[in-house]
Amino acid sequence: MPLLEVKDLEVRYGRIKAVEHIDVAVEAGEVVVLIGANGAGKTTTMRAVSGLLAARQGSITFKGEDVTRLKGHRRVAKGISLVPEGRGIFPGMTVRENLEMGTYALKGKNPESEYDRVFELFPRLKERSTQLGGTMSGGEQQMLAIGRALMASPEVLLLDEPSMGLAPQFIRQIFSIIREINSQGTTVLLVEQNANQALAIADRACVLEAGRLTKTGTGKELLADNTIRDVYLGGG
């Protein structure tokens, strides 16, 4: 049984249908990648899975439990954590307080070791631990957002374009971090425009087009797919 399963999902904004008939299954320990052009509905799907948007139709199950009607904050407590598009940094909190928010759902404890782990991954955050989140540079905010999600040690980590706005060197680092946390047992659902690198680490991948799922396969399969190459991999 998949750890996280999305079945026949449909989400609307008002009367506008953003996605429909989305089926994604993520097995425990996998890295699954969603790719698709702008406006294809990737973010919408992620937000629906994490409970920020309501499913109009379809179901979302996590560890066999139907969470479709569960509120967002309850899903976090169950172990689903999203790094949102646009980062979602609390602008008026310091870097450290932002990280601390990552542990909000954890009952009581506030493990120093988690901070160490994050600071080790992102030394810049340690340097700036008292700077206000809102004044960090674009890339720094992205680090903070990922670091914050890691603080919660989620079972499934949803990442919405984590490489956006990062310097090339850093993008590579992010992908190795993703692999690392995955190898430590965290399941990852990833949305990426950087399809080359994403597909390289993906166990499986799905292609979204205009709100519908058009292709699924292993990372390798899609990497080799010609049409995919043309559009998402930049012919490279």
């Binding site: 920020l52 976090v76 609390f90 602008p91 008026g92 928010m101 909000y104």
Partner: protein
């Protein structure tokens, strides 16, 4: 008044400086408690809870009803101190419950449905104003235009003298109790999980949800805390201003409290405290220097404008808007 309509008499202030100061602080403590309610709700929802003044006056009505049902009346009762304190604490608790309840009702009726529909900020403001009207005129229809008969809890007794000014038992009770409450709230917001939740929801409601913050519960809790503080303020208000409980009583005090919150930097808990005390002081000083109580509000608003010109986000407020482009 006759003659010159404006004249400055600093001598008058010097003569009674300390007495004016202590009194301003007492009044300011009440403003600060109410201002906290504005600031907390503003902090979490970014909106002026216009109905907060009615939340406050609801508590004041509760205090009056409860105390008069206990037999408190126009003259100070002759109760043993312990009994008196017990009665007052009970009255305070009831006021807090009533105000807190009213606050939650306001939230559920006037804000929650709008939030669910993603209404604009102005819509919230108008809805709050509507709710404020509703509550005011419920009180009006129920109790009429006149203030409630006064209940006297105790006659203020001089306790000690500072710089020639007498500080009485009433002032002392109000200031100490109010300060304790404000410190508690400050600590709650700064140190507890609830406080972190409040700040998170304030800054980014969606991301707060992603952190596992139950936004609805945080909002209700914030309104409730604001309500509790307003209830406490109501007890002190009735203590100090016995014939001040009537349907518009909240509105009049509410504007000052709100001014206090803005002066201190709305959204900032310590700012509300500072702003409250300042508004109390400024009003008293201004009225004394200018010779008429009629100047009180003019002076308060002029100072507000001047302060905001120098610090556009209030004394302790920070500006996040321009942080990044």
């Amino acid at each position: 008044m006759s003659g010159e309509w404006i004249s400055f008499d600093f001598g008058a202030l010097l003569n009674s400086f300390w007495a004016t100061t202590f009194d301003g602080l007492t009044l300011g403590a009440i403003y600060a408690l109410v201002a906290l309610g504005y600031t907390l709700v503003y902090g979490v929802l970014n909106l002026i809870n216009f109905a907060h003044s009615e939340v406050f006056i609801a508590g004041a009505f509760a205090v009056v009803f409860f105390l008069s049902s206990l037999g408190f009346g126009p003259s100070a009762p002759t109760l043993p101190l312990g009994m008196l304190i017990l009665d007052l604490v009970l009255a305070g608790i009831i006021a807090m419950v009533v105000s807190g309840g009213t606050a939650i009702i306001v939230e559920r009726v006037a804000y929650k449905p709008l939030r669910d529909r993603g209404a604009s900020r102005l819509a919230f403001l108008i809805s709050a104003i509507g709710m404020s009207f509703v509550l005011q005129y419920i009180f009006f229809e129920w109790r009429g235009p006149n203030a409630e008969p006064s209940v006297t809890m105790f006659r203020p007794k001089p306790i000690f003298e500072v710089f020639g000014a007498i500080i009485d038992s009433q002032q002392l009770t109000i200031v100490i109790a109010a300060l304790i409450m404000m410190v508690c709230v400050d600590q709650v917001v700064r140190r507890t999980k609830l406080g972190r939740g409040i700040r998170a929801v304030a800054q980014d409601p969606d991301t707060a949800t992603l952190m596992g913050v139950n936004r609805e519960r945080i909002i209700v809790a914030t309104f409730a805390i604001g309500g509790f503080l307003a209830g406490a303020a109501a007890l002190f208000y009735v203590m100090r201003v016995p014939a001040g409980v009537f349907y518009m009583g909240g509105f009049i005090l509410g504007i000052k409290a709100f001014t206090a919150a803005v002066l201190g930097g709305i959204g900032n808990v310590r700012g509300a405290l500072l702003g409250g005390l300042l508004v109390g002081l400024i009003g008293n000083y201004g009225a004394t220097i200018l010779g008429d109580s009629q100047w009180t509000d003019v002076v308060i608003f002029v100072v507000l404008i001047l302060v905001l010109m120098i610090r556009p986000n209030g004394i302790l407020g920070t500006n996040l808007g321009e942080a990044r482009v």
